[in-house]
């Protein structure tokens, strides 16, 4: 038992260190995303129109904007991006100068393009022809299925409400940009080699289109580490309405039973997670440019496996007569 406890202590320390690091990475990535979308992209747009005026095509811009609104979703062929939020392969902020041509294959924001690699599909109604969004999961690409599926083929959770939510939130901005395009003369692209042209290329170069996808994977990953720490501290959420009626001796057996249940359930989920990984390895799919989906899915067998280990140690500890830290130690709300 002593050996197991020592192993667990080291494990917990390592888990805590990794978890803190991952949260800091999350913060850095999320902060970078905010700065990129809300500062760099508008600047890039500004620079993209800083050249000598060219003949404007406002009607086309307005039409493109109109087609992408929720009232006429079907017109947005191959739509694969958010309203300027997504980081679609083709377009998004990257090619603002070409904005007017963006009706077909709309790839996020005002650029043309092909639907976007990891575009946030939040704004894409399921009816959109060739919609390739899938919650920004990265398989938008050519938008061939148009059915709002997750990467493993299962239907996405609650796909209808959230997209509308995001969509409406951005209507004001869409209108503003469309009006801007309608109004004055449109600046053309900046002269080659100018500061503005170089900045446009630079902002393109520092774009990390996979941030949103990775952030969401990181949330599940850090949650596993949080759950491991909650296990060690006896802070999992529970109901615990009757354990106060149990005597000290009964508490010990209760701790054995509850920890055994948790360990068994975690072990079964770990096995199910291993199944998910093996299926994904048979049909590899690059979730981000530098990793396949199964790499992220490894968190299920590993995370649940480690949880099973922690609960197993607690169960053995209770069997060996250590002070039960199970039911009594859990606090509702983990607060």
């Amino acid at each position: 038992m002593k050996f197991l406890r020592a192993v667990e202590d080291r494990l917990v320390r390592a888990e805590a260190a990794v978890a803190v690091t991952l949260v800091l990475v999350m913060l850095a990535l999320a902060g970078y995303g905010v700065v990129y979308r809300n500062i760099l992209v508008p600047l890039q747009k500004h620079w993209a129109h800083s050249g000598p005026p060219v003949e404007a095509e406002p009607a086309v811009v307005a039409e493109a904007a109109g087609q992408a609104t929720p009232e006429q979703p079907a017109a947005a062929d191959g739509f694969g991006g958010d309203w300027g939020e997504g980081a679609g392969d083709g377009g998004d902020e990257a090619e603002p100068a070409a904005a007017p041509a963006a009706a077909d294959g709309f790839g996020g924001d005002w650029g043309e393009g092909d639907g976007g690699d990891s575009a946030e599909p939040a704004a894409a109604p399921a009816a959109a022809d060739g919609f390739g969004g899938d919650w920004g999961e990265g398989d938008g690409g050519d938008g061939d299925d148009g059915e709002n599926k997750t990467d493993n083929g299962a239907p996405a959770a609650a796909p209808e409400d959230e997209p509308e939510d995001e969509q409406f939130a951005k209507l004001g901005r869409i209108d503003a940009v469309a009006k801007e395009a309608d109004d004055g003369p449109v600046g053309g692209p900046p002269p080659e080699g100018s500061f503005a042209a170089r900045m446009i290329v630079f902002i393109d170069a520092v774009k990390l289109p996979w941030i949103d996808v990775v952030l969401r994977q990181l949330v599940i990953l850090v949650a596993f580490f949080g759950a491991m720490m909650a296990t060690q501290r006896g802070k999992h959420i529970n109901i615990d309405a009757l354990s106060k009626l149990v005597g000290p001796r009964g508490l010990r057996w209760l701790a054995v039973a509850t920890n055994l249940l948790a360990a068994s359930v975690s072990a079964v989920f770990a096995r199910a997670g291993a199944g998910l990984v093996s299926i994904s390895r048979e049909h590899p799919h690059a979730l981000v440019p530098w990793a396949d989906e199964w790499v992220f899915q490894l968190m299920f067998p590993v995370g649940f496996g480690l949880l099973a280990f922690h609960f197993g140690v607690r169960c053995l500890g209770a069997l060996a007569g250590e002070t039960p830290t199970g039911p009594g130690a859990h606090t509702q709300g983990a607060a």
Binding site: M26, E160, K235
Partner: protein
């Protein structure tokens, strides 16, 4: 056999088994019984990664813990006291305002009672407020900010229910204010009845207090203006996910580098950043594990049309919308006093949404009713969570706290019924601030 397994799991749940293991056990049992591959459980869990709002859970939670671990509580109390302390019974309003602000960001009401209770209780007693009123007020105010944005329960509700979080944020403001007004009015009345001395208003102290807490007072402005803009002037600039990142980074910077209440690493008695992150992760892990494990179970129940079976069963007894809302209120109050708010959202919401839709309840209004009921459930005897937290924090028998919180419970119940039956209290704000919302 099947019934035995389910009963066994429910008994273990009542005896304190971690809720995720009970829900996971039920999911495994149902999938195995129906011959469905258990891999689907993991697929359902993994689907969480498709939700664009998922990142708000750890980031807003971290923001709340950064506030809770710093000395934000005392700065906020000072501001409230300087601004509202001159009112008759003003200190009671100070308690309500401070707790509401704090709970909005920390989400879990237990944190509020522990962080602010120890600070406010001695002040209330010193100002000669009755003991039972003081403890009743602190206990009741412990969950009072849950309806204001960007409270974590609202976000979780939006994720689980698939309801617009933007709309829920806006819809919670009116009902949340009603709770504040009701408790505030009672405090004013108690202040007058007991002839509590008023603190004269000191403009210089008010300015100094606001200046000292200026960065924290800006947090709601940063979040709300970022998401919604200024009505009539600007549109919202960032998504909720981006707002959560801004909020967490902003609080990290001000608590670590401006106020220096939190250190970057362990060096003295002040809390350090890794510790605060770990504390917040414990809560995130506990919530997200239930959320992920329950995905398989709840989707299975919905596929098996369990909500419709319940609907068919109750349709004979409950015909009108009014009766349904009364039944729902009673049911949710029971749920609220048995389960904490996060697990209640994950387990109960998927079941009641289809049933409520049949009775014509607007999904956003349903969210507000649900959260308001659970807010009250924290105070409902015999096992409301706030009662036990206060009992532990102030060393009083829980039965005493039943008595102390009873007047507050009655008033909040009256407010709850108004919130439930006056749909416009929730939806009018949505129509005003988000006219394009469905």
């Amino acid at each position: 056999m099947s019934a035995l397994v389910v009963i066994g799991l429910i008994v273990l749940a009542l005896l304190g088994a971690p809720l995720f293991s009970v829900l996971g056990g039920m999911g495994i049992h149902n999938f195995a019984a129906s011959g469905t591959s258990l891999v689907v459980l993991s697929e359902e869990h993994y689907k969480l990664a498709t939700n664009p709002h998922l990142v708000t859970i750890p980031l807003f939670t971290l923001a709340g813990f950064l506030m809770a671990e710093s000395r934000a509580a005392s700065r906020l109390v000072r501001v409230s006291r300087a601004l509202l302390g001159w009112l008759p019974g003003g200190l009671g309003i100070v308690v309500i305002a401070s707790c509401a602000f704090f709970t909005t960001f920390t989400g879990a009401s237990g944190v509020t009672i522990i962080a602010l209770g120890g600070l406010l209780h001695p002040i209330l007693i010193q100002e000669r407020y009755p003991e039972s009123f003081s403890l009743g007020l602190i206990t009741s105010s412990g969950s009072i900010g849950l309806l204001f944005p960007p409270s974590l329960p609202i976000i979780l509700y939006g994720i689980v229910a698939g309801t617009s979080i933007d709309d829920l944020f806006v819809a919670g403001i009116g009902p949340g204010l009603l709770f504040l007004v009701v408790l505030g009015a009672y405090s004013l009345w108690v202040g007058r009845a007991h002839k509590v001395a008023n603190t004269p208003f000191d403009a210089r102290e008010a300015v100094r207090a606001i200046w000292a807490a200026k960065w924290e007072l800006l947090v709601p402005v940063v979040v709300l203006v970022g998401i919604y803009g200024v009505p009539g002037l600007t549109v919202g600039l960032v998504t909720i996910g981006e707002a959560s990142a801004i909020c967490a980074i902003y609080l990290l910077v001000i608590e670590v580098f401006v106020y220096r209440d939190i250190t970057l690493w362990k060096k003295d008695s002040r809390p350090d950043l890794p510790k605060v992150i770990r504390e917040s992760l414990v809560m995130v892990g506990a919530i997200m594990l239930i959320l992920g494990v329950a995905m398989g179970l709840t989707n299975f129940l919905i596929q098996e049309r369990v909500p419709m079976v319940i609907l068919d069963a109750i349709r004979g007894y409950i015909e009108s919308r009014f009766t349904f809302l009364i039944a729902l209120t009673i049911f949710l109050l029971i749920v609220g006093c048995l389960m904490d708010i996060f697990s209640a959202i994950i387990v109960v919401v998927p079941l009641i949404i289809p049933i409520s839709a049949e009775y014509g309840i607007h999904p956003v209004h349903l969210g507000i009713i649900f959260l308001a009921n659970l807010e009250l459930g924290y105070l409902t005897p015999p096992v409301g969570m706030n009662l036990f937290i206060s009992s532990l924090a102030f060393g009083r028998p829980v039965v005493q706290l039943y008595r102390m919180t009873f007047p507050f419970l009655l008033m909040m119940l009256a407010a709850l019924l108004i919130i439930t039956f006056q749909e416009d209290l929730s939806l009018a704000t949505v129509r005003w601030l988000r006219p394009t919302a469905p």
